[in-house]
Symmetry: C2
Subunit: 292 residues, 2 copies
């Protein structure tokens, strides 16, 4: 069976079963990051990659490409309530590439590292006969065991999204801001049952979060916050929004909404619906599939 016949979720699901873990590992792939116990502290581990022609176009500004390469992993660390720490960057590059392109790439990586307090500590360079490939691995910290997974949602929890969704392909996917500060504020002050970042589009990611908790969902399509000039379809299916999707109990909703407005007046927070008993799915999932 070929990868595109199986589809991304099936491929990932099968590969997860082939991982190897001992009891130091609290959580492995399937969530945004792995969680391991290290020196009596929990550590988040994440790797991610972007590929020329898939995640960025050949004429993209290399500085933006570097920003995106690091910020994708930062967004995953953030989605678990973590603080990003140390990054390794592996690049596979055509031999004919101009050094200046690589330098600009690194300047973009540095800019993101500086913005989010990340160390760029090393990596690897390799020549490649194929497209430019950039892989970033990132470690992260969590406070007092307070990390949040996709799986903890409960029947009746409110679902929130930050910012607005859709239209990322229009250049936004290269210049997004991971919600590190917002996610930590949420995790420290509120009973966040489940959280993830929206990378493949709400229509793909929400069903994943619901399924991880053995739940369904009931969404008010009209309430989904859309990027100006874009349609509902874009908000559901475009992907690469890198906004937070999270679930909180009804009891915390009003208080959270009030405090958010004071703390982050410039970033929208929208209740889009609820997690409900398994079986109910308010919209069909046909979002971006990595192998389709």
């Amino acid at each position: 069976m070929k990868l595109n016949e199986l589809g991304e979720d099936a491929v990932v699901g099968r590969l997860i079963k082939l991982l190897r873990v001992d009891n130091r590992v609290k959580l492995r792939a399937g969530d945004d990051c792995a969680v391991v116990r290290n020196a009596d502290k929990l550590q988040l581990l994440k790797s991610d990659c972007i590929i020329e022609g898939v995640h960025f176009l050949p004429d993209a500004n290399p500085k933006d490409v570097g920003w995106k390469a690091l910020c994708r992993s930062i967004s995953d660390i953030a989605a678990m309530g973590g603080k990003p720490l140390d990054a390794l960057v592996t690049v596979a590059l055509p031999r004919e590439l101009e050094f200046d392109w690589v330098k600009q790439l690194y300047l973009g990586l540095r800019k993101a590292a500086h913005e989010f307090g990340v160390n760029l500590v090393g990596g690897e360079t390799a020549k490649s006969p194929g497209p430019i490939f950039i892989s970033v691995s990132l470690t992260g910290d969590v406070i007092d065991g307070k990390y949040v997974t996709r799986a903890g949602g409960k029947d009746g929890d409110w679902l929130f999204v930050t910012g607005s969704l859709g239209g990322a392909f229009n250049g936004r996917h290269l210049r997004f801001h991971p919600r590190v500060e917002h996610a930590r504020w949420l995790v420290e002050g509120y009973p966040i049952h489940a959280m993830m970042d929206l990378s493949d589009g709400l229509a793909s990611d929400l069903p994943r979060m619901a399924a991880a908790g053995g739940l369904g969902f009931d969404i008010d399509l009209g309430s989904i916050p859309r990027t100006p000039w874009f349609r509902l379809e874009n908000a559901l299916y475009d992907g690469e929004d890198y906004e937070l999707l999270f679930a909180v109990p009804d009891s915390a909703k009003a208080c959270l909404e009030g405090a958010w407005k004071e703390k982050f007046p410039s970033l929208r927070l929208t209740a889009i619906g609820k997690l409900v008993k398994a079986g109910q799915r308010k919209f069909a999932a046909k979002g971006y599939d990595h192998f389709a």
Copy 2:
């Protein structure tokens, strides 16, 4: 200037200057691993990648490819005297690839993980229009701050290599055994001034180690241990031996050689010459260059 005009060491040298580190970072790229302080403990961080058509041929056994992908990073952790811990695997795959190929790849990764006590905790899968690409990130532990770099060699130190060199392209490069146990035994019991693993060939790697310590070297070419049926040229230039190269003071030489024979009777240990004052280089370095 294009990457192949600059050459690998110049590219890496320039990129290292573009990294971003704070005072938690003890050591960054240029050595085999980065070293960071984490929860009052030192942690090693390493990433590496292998690419179809560069590091393995399309018809290679995918299980061997998985073994190699993880063992390369394990070898780097070993080369600093560390214990490998947790690995993330990022793969970029053509959509038309058979799932079974990926499964065999993961079985090879698992086999290496099991052999060296590593956790495979997660990673990323992406589709790619290019060749198969596998990137591995690995964390490692060091005991009591006892890690060894390439840079600590002193004038007059003896240079040793483990095993035999050359002929790796003949299939050996897919099935090598990182010298984890040997390296830890060395670091725990002996004053190892400098150490690295031989990945690009002695003719490239030895000058790097000497230069890192501001030194030259004086090698007895006849003493270099060669893989049976292979020539001195192979031992110097083939690369991908993944044996250890290390430097110890003259005072420790005899004792180390005796103890090694008892501890590791099946693996050769050979003194090939000495580190000397800067300037002297007994052979010309024209080994494998990643961008040539």
